[in-house]
């Protein structure tokens, strides 16, 4: 699949944003995080900006952005619609939560409830994002068990990384967060490895033979494409990436998205103060870049069944 940058960016940033929103919305009412409103505002603003800019960038590739609002209508069948609805819905309690915190200087019952609701909405939103891809049968690399857990885990991980960084400006030594962050990264890494392992080994459900209902006489090969130049289908879904190129990018993703952040988080765990802040900051940047690469690969390595009509043997 063609890795359109708008979508790559949208999924990573909104994932991180909603995850952070989830952590704050949940952590503060439960007293696991500092009650300082400025911490809350900073965290929630960062979360909001990431989530919103993600959503906005996702409308960039629409043919009719001005009609985007219609996308809220089909929540009964469409995961894309559900994602939109839930995203918007989670902003409401999140906003109440953040403002009341700012206004009253503390989290009280209802606001806390809003926080928890927002948290729930956020998780659900990320879940929907995952399901948009997981529900697409023509793409084996997407239509599998591992996609949704990956989205959740990677979101959670990026949320924790952000939290770990922000929290340090109020709490010199956020041990629990740091430890949880490290764990989240390791868990996400594991899910990603499982995912890669799966797409590398799982059998292709569709073949050039099943796509053409041929094969009785033996192997089926493409002779001529319908048109000599590429069309929309090929530009959008014909994108494919060389094995070795992919392996190289996977390595970069491994290092930037997981290895480096884990190490840096552990460094930040032992060194309090500025050193910790710096380490956590680099961890966030590194993970951010790493996840963009990971997400780019998520598209680039996905092979659509339509390519079977253009020469692919199996997808």
């Amino acid at each position: 699949m063609n890795p359109a940058l708008s979508i790559v960016f949208f999924t990573t940033s909104s994932g991180a944003g909603f995850a952070l929103m989830m952590l704050v919305g949940l952590g503060v009412p439960l007293g696991l995080l500092p009650a300082n409103p400025w911490f809350g505002v900073t965290a929630m603003v960062i979360a909001g900006v990431l989530a919103v800019s993600g959503l906005v960038s996702s409308t960039v590739h629409l043919g009719h952005p001005e009609r985007a609002w219609r996308a809220f209508s089909q929540w009964r069948s469409s995961w894309l619609s559900r994602e939109g609805v839930l995203a918007v819905l989670s902003f409401v309690p999140a906003a109440i939560f953040a403002f009341s915190w700012l206004i009253f200087g503390k989290i009280w019952g209802f606001a806390g409830l809003c926080g928890i609701v927002a948290a729930a909405g956020s998780v659900a939103t990320i879940y929907c994002t995952g399901m948009i891809y997981a529900s697409l049968k023509p793409i084996r690399q997407w239509h599998n068990f591992w996609v949704v857990p990956n989205y959740l885990a990677l979101g959670l991980m990026s949320g924790f990384l952000l939290l770990d960084l922000v929290e340090r400006f109020w709490v010199p030594w956020p041990t629990v967060t740091a430890i949880l962050t490290a764990i989240a990264i390791v868990v996400a890494w594991w899910f990603k490895e499982e995912y890669w392992g799966f797409i590398d080994t799982s059998a292709a459900p569709s073949t050039i033979a099943s796509a053409t209902a041929l094969g009785r006489r033996g192997a089926v090969r493409i002779l001529e494409r319908p048109h000599t130049e590429d069309n929309y289908l090929l530009k959008e879904m014909g994108f494919s990436i060389a094995r070795k190129h992919a392996t190289r990018l996977r390595l970069i993703a491994r290092l930037a998205a997981f290895a480096a952040p884990v190490v840096l988080t552990l460094i930040a765990l032992v060194w309090a103060g500025n050193a910790g802040v710096v380490a956590a900051f680099i961890a966030v940047i590194s993970a951010g870049l790493g996840l963009v690469v990971e997400r780019w690969l998520f598209f680039a390595e996905a092979r659509h069944s339509v390519t079977l009509y253009y020469g692919a043997d199996a997808v």
């Binding site: 219609r70 809220f72 209508s73 089909q74 002779l223 001529e224 048109h227 000599t228 130049e229």
Partner: protein, 955 residues
């Protein structure tokens, strides 16, 4: 409930669909011309433009269907390459630098060039036409002008099929006959990719398959029609003749021959004089009134023409004059029973196993002789004898350019006809049938005119330029016995060049051989590109100047095209034509009509759109030139124009022979005469009212055995198709060829020059022979191990459709296809860039490997690569950057340069004799095609090419 609906409709309102939109404001009928198949079309017009073009369900040719090209006619009309106004060249030839001029200036210029020629030396005008469907006008015009130098595209197209067919059967595979699609049980197709009968063949093939008839395709490539065949015989190009003669060998060996048919309808029993070295050797033994003789069952000889005469097919007699004579069949049997034609002997050469050849022969024999069919339909033969039923052997054959485009094509096509006739399958149920107005006498009457004695200044020529020589005395030679035509047709180079030799035109005009011409006038032929052999060389000749005078070697070129083709770029004066939707046209029985096996027919085109440009129908322009030049046939008694409304009037009023004109329908005062009848001024209205075609349905008793069917022959004579109603006798043994051969042996007063006699003697064999295509012998085959051929893409017509926004998306560039095994051996993979080299040079293109191709053969789609700047495409068009043209490698002369690269009998261009070598190119060269030429400037006032095309967008 209610609110839910509202709520839903607010977010995602239901679509309202109009299931019954009015398709068009008006529907007009005409004839398609996106190719030469002549399908009837219904053109839907809306808001002044074309909304939709579909097939005319009532039309005899296509019965409602149309093809990929026909359905893209809208985009032809929308093409930015349409010429807008007459053009006068201002830059060098090929630069594309033109000045727009008014029609008055254009006509004045043309007249200024043509008039002096006609008044001094008419042959200095060479008038040649390409895809011309109005040859009955253009040929007539040439005759009126007085030049012998006229022909259309047949010489490079399929004259081998036409000549072999017309001399043997009085019909031909090419246009003038077709298999009995409804009844045939075994159909063999030789070398056909698309053909002129595009839609009828497709429709028939699928019906045949559904019926369970067997379809065998003999073709080095398994695409298109061949893809749906039951059996693919991947023959080696150029070897069909040998393969077919081997089939004949098997059939003779097993005595699976229809002797009854042979004696009744062919010259198989005619006695041939056996007197080696004598002037009459190999001619038919004739009686006093010139009738051929047969060996009578009663003993002695008898008049072959006698009804019911008892004849022997094998035996020998001594004629009164003491000469030996044997029946034709005996010569055939002796020759083809020779072990040289044994399947085991020919297998390797043909690339077909001996088992396959034997099995196919057995299948043919089985279907022909054990699966005869009989129709309960009485008929009367030429001698007035009534037959209760029509019996036939359901084996049929069709063949086209895979056979004809070789230097052995004439004899190979003859071999196919011999096979058809030996098993008695000509115009019988289940066999191969004539399309009216055929059969004609074999060959038809008119002989070519154009000898110096028939050409004189200011006068029409002594007769039509093209025809059918019966012997050396009919050749068109100058006083010295050399060629008298600029293309050397009907000379010793190509005695039976019935369609002329357009492929030699530009070389000879350039070389001033046999003489210089003054003006080259061409119509609808892209001779600067895809219809020329050796295109690079041809371009050089078109632009070559005489160093002394600085004049072009070909002084003047007038050209009529409708679009900005490569050829336009090389002409001096351009007469812009209309598109096929903007003019009157006539698909005439005098040319290549739409007649079918069930009866004659013809059709017209009517103007459907008014040109939005300053262009004129070429035929109108030609007639106007005729008037201004004072050509008698175009003037009335008062010296004014005889056809004031131009071609429209000519179609309805012109008479070729008394009562015979361009159109056969609705003739005579009563508008009821068919074929022959007084001109009818309302004729065109009648055609328009009938969907622009006329079809005459023959009664059932005339549908078969047309060559010997009394009622049919009388009908045909009445309609003016044939001069008399004598039976048409199929010519297994071609006496005219023997006459040329005798001349080569020095007999008679018209004899070939010494250097030609060997060739004439060898190739003018009165019975089919096979020989290696000439190019093979003249190149080092180890250097050029592969055969290279082209195929017609079904969705593209030659050069026409690269300007078509829809069709060029389907095929914007071409690949060289090669067998996977061969590719592997050469270390080639899909998409590799390769150089393709022949003795003439190298071109570059991209490769695609496949299974369905003979391993010694490579092929590509024809005419896709284009000259940069032509057709008003932008410079980065894939047609220019990736597409390639095989023609650069195919030479008009054989290696050595002494002989034309064509058939020695007809002169037909031998496109498919090409031998090549294929090599992977260095990375540096990969990525672009070669050769490329300087970009041709787009003509004046060409609008900017649209980035986006929104045809049909509701405004």
């Amino acid at each position: 409930m209610m609110w839910r609906e509202r709520w839903r409709d607010y977010w995602s309102p239901r679509e309202t669909i109009d299931p019954s939109p009015r398709v068009s404001d008006e529907v007009k009928y005409t004839t398609c011309y996106m190719c030469a198949c002549r399908c009837g079309i219904k053109v839907h017009l809306k808001d002044g433009g074309v909304r939709y073009i579909e097939g005319n369900p009532r039309h005899p040719v296509n019965k409602g269907v149309i093809c990929g090209k026909g359905a893209a006619g809208i985009m032809q009309q929308a093409s930015p390459a349409k010429l807008k106004k007459p053009l006068m060249r201002v830059g060098e030839r090929g630069s594309g630098e033109f000045r727009e001029i008014e029609w008055d200036e254009a006509m004045a210029t043309a007249i200024g060039w043509l008039k002096p020629i006609r008044e001094t030396d008419p042959k200095k005008l060479a008038f040649f036409t390409g895809r011309d469907q109005s040859q009955s006008l253009t040929g007539f015009w040439a005759t009126q002008f007085g030049t012998p130098n006229f022909a259309a595209h047949g010489g490079f197209c399929s004259v081998n099929m036409a000549a072999a067919g017309m001399y043997t059967l009085g019909g031909s595979f090419w246009e003038f006959g077709e298999p009995d699609w409804e009844r045939t049980k075994l159909f063999l197709m030789f070398g056909v990719a698309e053909d002129h009968d595009s839609n009828p063949i497709k429709t028939a093939l699928s019906a045949m398959r559904a019926r369970g008839a067997k379809f065998v395709t003999v073709n080095p490539v398994r695409t298109g029609y061949s893809a749906i065949a039951d059996e693919w015989v991947g023959i080696r190009p150029g070897t069909d003749g040998l393969f077919v003669l081997s089939l004949i060998h098997e059939l003779l060996r097993a005595d699976k021959i229809d002797l009854e048919y042979l004696v009744r309808y062919t010259n198989a029993a005619w006695l041939v004089i056996q007197a080696p070295g004598e002037a009459r050797d190999g001619l038919f033994a004739r009686n006093a009134d010139g009738h051929p003789l047969v060996l009578s069952g009663a003993g002695g000889v008898a008049d072959a023409m006698g009804a019911g005469v008892q004849a022997k097919v094998v035996g020998e007699t001594t004629l009164p004059d003491g000469r030996r004579a044997v029946p034709v069949f005996q010569l055939i049997a002796e020759r083809y029973l020779d072990p040289a034609y044994d399947p085991d002997t020919v297998a390797a050469t043909c690339g077909i196993t001996a088992e396959t050849i034997r099995r196919l022969a057995a299948e043919i024999a089985d279907v022909a002789f054990s699966q005869e069919i009989e129709i309960a339909q009485p008929w009367t033969d030429w001698a007035g004898r009534r037959h209760e039923t029509m019996r036939g052997r359901p084996v049929s054959i069709h063949a086209m350019r895979g056979i004809s485009a070789h230097s052995n094509g004439f004899h190979t096509c003859r071999a196919l006809h011999l096979l058809q006739i030996l098993i008695g399958t000509i115009d019988v149920p289940g066999g191969w049938r004539y399309k009216s107005p055929h059969p004609k006498p074999c060959p038809p009457g008119p002989k070519p005119a154009g000898r110096p004695s028939q050409i004189s200044p200011g006068k029409p020529a002594g007769g039509p330029p093209l025809g059918y020589p019966m012997g050396p005395e009919d050749l068109i030679l100058d006083e010295a016995g050399g060629p008298a035509r600029i293309d050397k047709a009907f000379s010793w180079d190509a005695p039976l060049a019935n369609h002329g030799l357009m492929q030699m035109l530009i070389r000879n005009c350039w070389a001033h051989d046999p003489y210089p011409i003054d003006t080259l006038f061409m119509y609808m032929a892209n001779m600067a590109w895809n219809s020329s052999m050796n295109t690079t060389e041809t371009i050089r000749m078109l632009t070559d100047k005489d160093p002394a005078t600085g004049e072009y070697k070909i002084p003047r070129i007038i050209y009529s095209d409708a679009y900005y083709s490569e050829m336009v770029g090389y002409a001096d004066l351009i007469l812009p034509d209309t598109t096929y939707l903007e003019r009157w046209d006539c698909i005439s029985l005098l040319d290549r009509p739409i007649g079918g096996v069930d009866g004659p027919g013809d059709s017209i085109r009517q103007p459907i759109l008014v040109p939005d440009r300053d262009v004129r129908p070429f035929q109108d322009v030609l007639i106007e030139l005729g008037v201004q030049l004072g050509l008698p046939a175009f003037l009335n008694a008062e010296g004014g124009p005889r056809f004031p409304a131009g071609y429209k009037d000519y179609i309805a009023l012109h008479e070729r022979a008394p009562g015979v004109g361009p159109l056969a329908g609705w003739r005579g005062e009563t508008e009821t005469d068919a074929g022959r009848g007084a001109p009818n001024p309302n004729q065109l209205d009648r055609y328009v009212a009938n969907g622009c075609f006329w079809k005459y349905e023959l009664p059932p008793e005339q549908l078969y055995f047309k060559h010997a069917n009394k009622d049919y022959l009388e009908t045909a004579q009445k309609m003016g198709f044939i001069g008399n109603s004598d039976p048409i006798i199929l010519q297994l043994y071609l006496e005219p060829l023997q006459r040329f051969r005798l001349a080569a042996q020095g007999h008679g007063d018209v004899v070939p020059p010494p250097e030609a006699s060997k060739r004439i003697e060898t190739y003018f064999d009165p019975l089919p022979i096979w020989y290696e295509p000439f190019e093979w012998a003249r190149v080092d085959q180890s250097q050029f191990p592969l055969h290279a051929i082209t195929q017609r893409p079904m969705q593209m017509y030659h050069s026409w459709h690269s300007q078509n926004a829809w069709l060029r998306q389907i095929l914007g560039s071409n690949r060289l296809f090669m067998a996977r095994s061969t590719g592997r051996a050469l270390g080639l993979a899909d998409d590799d860039w390769v150089s393709i080299s022949s003795h003439a040079g190298s071109i570059r293109g991209q490769i695609k490997l496949m299974d369905g191709v003979n391993p010694n053969t490579v092929w590509t789609w024809n005419g896709i690569g284009k000259r940069s700047g032509a057709w008003n495409l932008s410079e980065d068009a894939p047609e220019f950057t990736k597409g390639f043209l095989l023609n650069h490698l195919i030479t008009d002369l054989l290696p050595g340069g002494d002989l034309a690269n064509g058939d020695p009998v007809t002169g037909q261009a031998a496109w498919y004799d090409l031998r090549v070598r294929v090599e992977k190119v260095a990375a540096a060269e990969a990525g672009t095609t070669a050769p490329t030429f300087a970009t041709m400037r787009h003509p004046p006032r060409s609008e900017r090419l649209p980035e986006v095309l929104r045809y049909g967008a509701r405004r």
